[in-house]
C-alpha cells in the first residue's frame, strides 16, 4: 500500500513538472512566441477569446509571474485548457482533443499489446533454442530493426503497398465519403485504413521486446532454480514458462514503462505519415499552426497517458513478483 502511495506521489510530482514546463517554456524562449502567435492571428477569434489567450500566456497582464502561475494551475486543474486559435478557431481545446483520442487509443493500444505479446513470445522461444537457426539469425536482424526510423518505414510501406500495389489505403482514418456508423462497411473501412500504420508501428516496436526478452531469458536460464527444475524431472515447456519466463519477464515489465516514451514518439510520427487523425497527428497540426494552447494540452495528455501505463505495469509487476508485495 505504501508502495502505491509513493508511486502516486511521484506521478503527481511529474505531472506538476509537466504543467510547469508548459507554463515556463513559452515564457523562456527567445522572441516571445506567444506574442507572435496572437499577433499573427488577430482576426480569427473574438476579442474576448484573444484576451483570455493573452492572459494564459502572460501577455498584456499586470499580474506578477507568481500569480499568473497560480492562476494557470487553477485553470488546468479545472480543465480550462483554453481555446484553439488556429487549428479549429474558437473551438475549445478539450473538445478537439476528445475527438482524436479514440483513434490513437485503438491504433497504439492494440499494436503495442500485440507487439509485446508477439515480441516476448519470440524472445522466449529464441532463448530456449539457443544455437538454433532462429537464434543465430535473430540478433543481427532485430538490431537492424531497432534502428529503422518509424516514419521512414511508413513511407516505404506506403510506397510499396499503397502507391505501387494498391493493397491498402494510406491516409486518414477512414474514407471521408463514409459516415461513421456501427455497420460492417464502416468498421471494415476503419480496419483497412489501420493496417498499414498498425503494421509499421508493430514492426518498429517489436524488435526491442524480442531482444530484451531473449537476453533476460538467457540470463535466467543459467539460474540455479532452472537447473533444479530440470533435476526434478519437470517437462521442458513447463520449465520454460513457469520457471524461466515468469522470472525473465519481470525486468521487461519495468522496461516496458520506460520504453513507452518511444512508443509515443513512434505513434506521433506514424500518425503524421499516414495522416491518421489521432492525438499525435493533432499535436503536429498544432505545432505547424503555432496553436500553443492545443499543443500544451496534448503534451499534458500524452504525459498522463504514459504515467497511467507505468502505473499499470507497476501493478502487473506487483502481481507477478511476490517479492515486491508485503511489508518489507
Amino acid at each position: 500500500m505504501r508502495f502505491v502511495l509513493r508511486r502516486l506521489g511521484f506521478f503527481a510530482l511529474t505531472l506538476w513538472v509537466a504543467v510547469s514546463l508548459n507554463f515556463m517554456l513559452p515564457r523562456m524562449m527567445p522572441g516571445n512566441p506567444a506574442l507572435a502567435m496572437i499577433a499573427g492571428h488577430k482576426g480569427v477569434v473574438s476579442p474576448a477569446a484573444l484576451r483570455a489567450l493573452a492572459a494564459q500566456f502572460g501577455l498584456n497582464t499586470h499580474q506578477s509571474i507568481v500569480s499568473q502561475y497560480l492562476q494557470y494551475l487553477a485553470d488546468i486543474s479545472t480543465g480550462k485548457f483554453g481555446v484553439s486559435l488556429t487549428t479549429q478557431p474558437g473551438t475549445s481545446v478539450t473538445h478537439i482533443v476528445m475527438q482524436a483520442i479514440p483513434w490513437t487509443l485503438g491504433l497504439v493500444g492494440v499494436t503495442t499489446v500485440l507487439a509485446f505479446i508477439l515480441g516476448t513470445g519470440i524472445g522466449i522461444v529464441s532463448a530456449w533454442h539457443r544455437g538454433g537457426r532462429v537464434d543465430s539469425v535473430l540478433p543481427p536482424v532485430f538490431v537492424i530493426m531497432t534502428v529503422i526510423p518509424y516514419f521512414w518505414l511508413g513511407l516505404v510501406l506506403i510506397l510499396v503497398f499503397g502507391v505501387t500495389l494498391h493493397w491498402f489505403p494510406y491516409f486518414f482514418t477512414y474514407d471521408i465519403t463514409l459516415t461513421p456508423a456501427f455497420n460492417w462497411t464502416y468498421i471494415s473501412n476503419v480496419l483497412d485504413h489501420a493496417v498499414l500504420p498498425g503494421f509499421t508501428l508493430l514492426i518498429t516496436t517489436i524488435g526491442t521486446w524480442i531482444l530484451t526478452m531473449r537476453n533476460t531469458m538467457i540470463t535466467t536460464l543459467a539460474e540455479d532454480y532452472v537447473r533444479m527444475a530440470r533435476a526434478k524431472g519437470i517437462p521442458g515447456w513447463r520449465i520454460m514458462l513457469d520457471y524461466a519466463a515468469r522470472n525473465a519477464i519481470l525486468p521487461n515489465l519495468t522496461g516496458f514503462a520506460m520504453s513507452l516514451g518511444f512508443v509515443v514518439g513512434g505513434a506521433i510520427l506514424i500518425e503524421e505519415v499516414f495522416n491518421y487523425e489521432g492525438v499525435g497527428w493533432l499535436l503536429l497540426q498544432a505545432v505547424n499552426n503555432d496553436d500553443y494552447p492545443l499543443m500544451q494540452a496534448l503534451f499534458l495528455l500524452i504525459t498522463v497517458a504514459v504515467l497511467v501505463a507505468i502505473l499499470l505495469s507497476d501493478v502487473a509487476t506487483a502481481i507477478l513478483d511476490p517479492r515486491t508485495r508485503g511489508a518489507r
Partner: protein, 333 residues
C-alpha cells in the same frame, strides 16, 4: 614506477591491491577472481574484442565509412548540394546518380553532404548525454544521502516525461533547431536514462574492495571517482555513448522530418521532409528510399557495435558454438 601496459588511466601512484596490472594475489587455498579493470587495460581489451567479433567489425566498418563521407564529401559527390541548377525532377542517370529534386538539386550530392550534420549531432549529443549522465549519476551514487535523493528525483521525473513530445514542444517554440541547438535539445531529453544506469553501476561498485583499499590509502574522493570508479565503468560508458548516438540520429531525423529542424541545413531528415512534401512517391521514389537507408546504415553501425559490446561484457549472450552438437543431444531440452 611505470607499470607496463596499463596506461595513464591506471595512475602512476601505488597500485594497491591491484598488483601488477590487476594480477590476483594467491592465497593458501586458491586464487581469488580478479577485481576491477583499469581503464587502459579495458581499452586494449575492447580493441581486441572488436576485431574478433564479427558484429563489432561490421559496425566499425559502417561507422568508418560514414565518418569518411562526413569528413570528405567533396571527394565523393561532385555537385553542389545546395545549387538549384540541375534540372527539375530528373530521373537517375550517370550524371545524377539519384536524379534531381523538383527544386533542381542533385539528390546524390545532398545525400553525401547530408552525412556531416547527422554525424555532428550523433557524436555531439552522444558525448554530451553520456558526460552529463556520468556526472549526475556518479555524483548521486557517490555523494549519497540527500544529494542522491534530490538528483534521483530530478532524473526520474525527466525520465518519465515523454521525450519526443517534449522535444517537439521545445523545438516548436524555437521555430526549428539548427545543428547546435539540436544537440543541446536532444541531450536535454536523453540524459536521464543513462544517468540512472550509471548511478546503478556506480552504486554497486561503491563498496567493492578496491575502492575500500583506495579510501584506506587516504586518497581524496575526487581522485577515487576519477581514477578508480570511472575507468571501471568504461564499458558501460562506451555502451551508453553508442546508444545515445543512435537515439540522437533517430530523434534529430524525426524532428527534421516533421519540419522542426532547420530546413536550410541539408541533412537526411530534412531531405525526407522535402520528399514527403513534394509527394515523391510517384515521381522520385529514390529520394525517399536512399536518405532513409543511410539513417538505417549509420544507426546499424552504432547498434551493431553496441550489441557486440553487450556480448563481450556478458559472455553468456554469445552465440553457442556448434561443436556442442554432441553435448546438445545429451543434454537435450
Amino acid at each position: 614506477m611505470a607499470i607496463p601496459g596499463v596506461g595513464t588511466l591506471g595512475g602512476p601512484g601505488p597500485a594497491g591491491d591491484r598488483g601488477q596490472a590487476g594480477a590476483p594475489v594467491p592465497t593458501p587455498f586458491g586464487v581469488p577472481a580478479p577485481s576491477g579493470i583499469a581503464g587502459g587495460r579495458a581499452i586494449r581489451r575492447m580493441a581486441r574484442a572488436i576485431t574478433s567479433n564479427r558484429k563489432a567489425t561490421a559496425g566499425m566498418v559502417l561507422l568508418v565509412i560514414f565518418c569518411f563521407i562526413g569528413l570528405f564529401p567533396g571527394l565523393i559527390a561532385h555537385d553542389d548540394p545546395n545549387a538549384l541548377i540541375y534540372g527539375r525532377s530528373l530521373a537517375p542517370s550517370a550524371q545524377h546518380l539519384l536524379g534531381t529534386t523538383p527544386f533542381e538539386q542533385d539528390i546524390f550530392a545532398q545525400v553525401i553532404y547530408g552525412a556531416r550534420p547527422v554525424l555532428l549531432i550523433a557524436f555531439g549529443a552522444g558525448l554530451g548525454t553520456t558526460i552529463i549522465a556520468m556526472l549526475i549519476g556518479v555524483a548521486a551514487a557517490y555523494l549519497g544521502g540527500a544529494w542522491d535523493g534530490v538528483l534521483n528525483l530530478i532524473t526520474d521525473v525527466l525520465l518519465v516525461i515523454p521525450a519526443f513530445p517534449l522535444l517537439i514542444v521545445i523545438a516548436s517554440y524555437l521555430h526549428g533547431a539548427g545543428t547546435a541547438v539540436m544537440i543541446l535539445v536532444v541531450t536535454f531529453v536523453s540524459w536521464s536514462y543513462t544517468a540512472r544506469q550509471l548511478r546503478s553501476q556506480a552504486l554497486s561498485l561503491r563498496n567493492r574492495d578496491f575502492l575500500e583499499a583506495a579510501r584506506v590509502r587516504g586518497e581524496r574522493p575526487l581522485y577515487i571517482v576519477i581514477v578508480e570508479i570511472i575507468p571501471t565503468m568504461t564499458s558501460l560508458l562506451v555502451a551508453s555513448f553508442l546508444t545515445n548516438a543512435l537515439y540522437a540520429v533517430l530523434f534529430s531525423s524525426s524532428l527534421q522530418f516533421i519540419g522542426l529542424g532547420n530546413p536550410a541545413v541539408n541533412s537526411w531528415g530534412t531531405m525526407l521532409y522535402w520528399a514527403e512534401n513534394e509527394e515523391a512517391f510517384q515521381t522520385q521514389p529514390l529520394w525517399i528510399i536512399v536518405p532513409g537507408l543511410c539513417i538505417v546504415a549509420l544507426g546499424a553501425g552504432f547498434a551493431l557495435l553496441n550489441y557486440a559490446f553487450d556480448e563481450i561484457g556478458n559472455p553468456a549472450l554469445r552465440p553457442v558454438r556448434s561443436m556442442m552438437r554432441g553435448a546438445r543431444v545429451k543434454n537435450a531440452r
